[in-house]
Symmetry: C2
Subunit: 106 residues, 2 copies
C-alpha cells in the first residue's frame, strides 16, 4: 500500500495534480488543464492516483469531480516523520554521550 | 530530484534499509543482512538509495559504511507536510464559511 503511495507521488505531473487538489475538490478539467498534456496522458496519471487511494473521483452527469484523500497522503507523511524522529533521537543520544565523555565541548 | 526521492522510497526493501539507517550509520552488512537478499539485489537497491542522495557510502578498507542523509529525507517530508497544511487550511475555511452561512451547526 505504502509502495503505491510513494510510487504515485514519484511523478511530477501527479504531484502537480495533488497540489491542485490540496486547494480543494474540483473537476478533472480544472485540476489538469494547466498541465498542457493530452487526455490519454492525464487519464493514465489520474488512474495511478486513484489506484493508490490518493484521489477519489465522483461522476455527476458529464462532470468528473476529483477529491484528494488526505488520509492516504498521511501514510507516507507519517512514515517519513517517524524516520526523522528516530534519526534525531539517535543523533541527540550520540551527542549527549560524546559530551558526557568529554569528547565535545558545550 | 524529488522524483528520485519518492521513487527511491517506493520499494519496501529500500524503506527497510532507511529504517535501519535512521537508527545510526552502520556497515552494509549490518544494514542489510536481516533482509535475506542476494548481494546483487542489495547492491541494486543501495545504488538507487545512493543516487537519490538518501544514503551516503564511505569506504574504509574492506568496510563500507552507510549513512542516512536526513536532509534528503526532508525533501519529500516537507512537500507532504505542505500539501497537508494547505488542505487543512482550505478545509477549515470551507467549514467556517458554511458555519457563518448557517448551513452547519457548531
Amino acid at each position: 500500500m505504502t509502495n503505491d503511495l510513494f510510487s504515485a507521488l514519484a511523478h511530477p505531473v501527479r504531484r502537480r495534480i495533488v497540489e491542485r487538489l490540496a486547494l480543494g475538490s474540483t473537476t478533472v478539467g480544472v485540476a489538469t488543464s494547466h498541465l498542457g498534456l493530452s487526455k490519454p496522458t492525464i487519464s493514465r496519471h489520474l488512474g495511478v492516483l486513484e489506484e493508490s487511494g490518493l484521489v477519489r473521483r465522483r461522476v455527476s452527469g458529464r462532470e468528473h469531480h476529483l477529491t484528494l484523500d488526505v488520509e492516504a497522503l498521511s501514510v507516507p507523511y507519517e512514515w517519513l516523520s517517524q524516520q526523522r524522529d528516530i534519526w534525531e533521537r539517535m543523533f541527540d543520544a550520540v551527542e549527549d554521550q560524546l559530551r558526557s565523555s568529554g569528547v565535545t565541548r558545550d
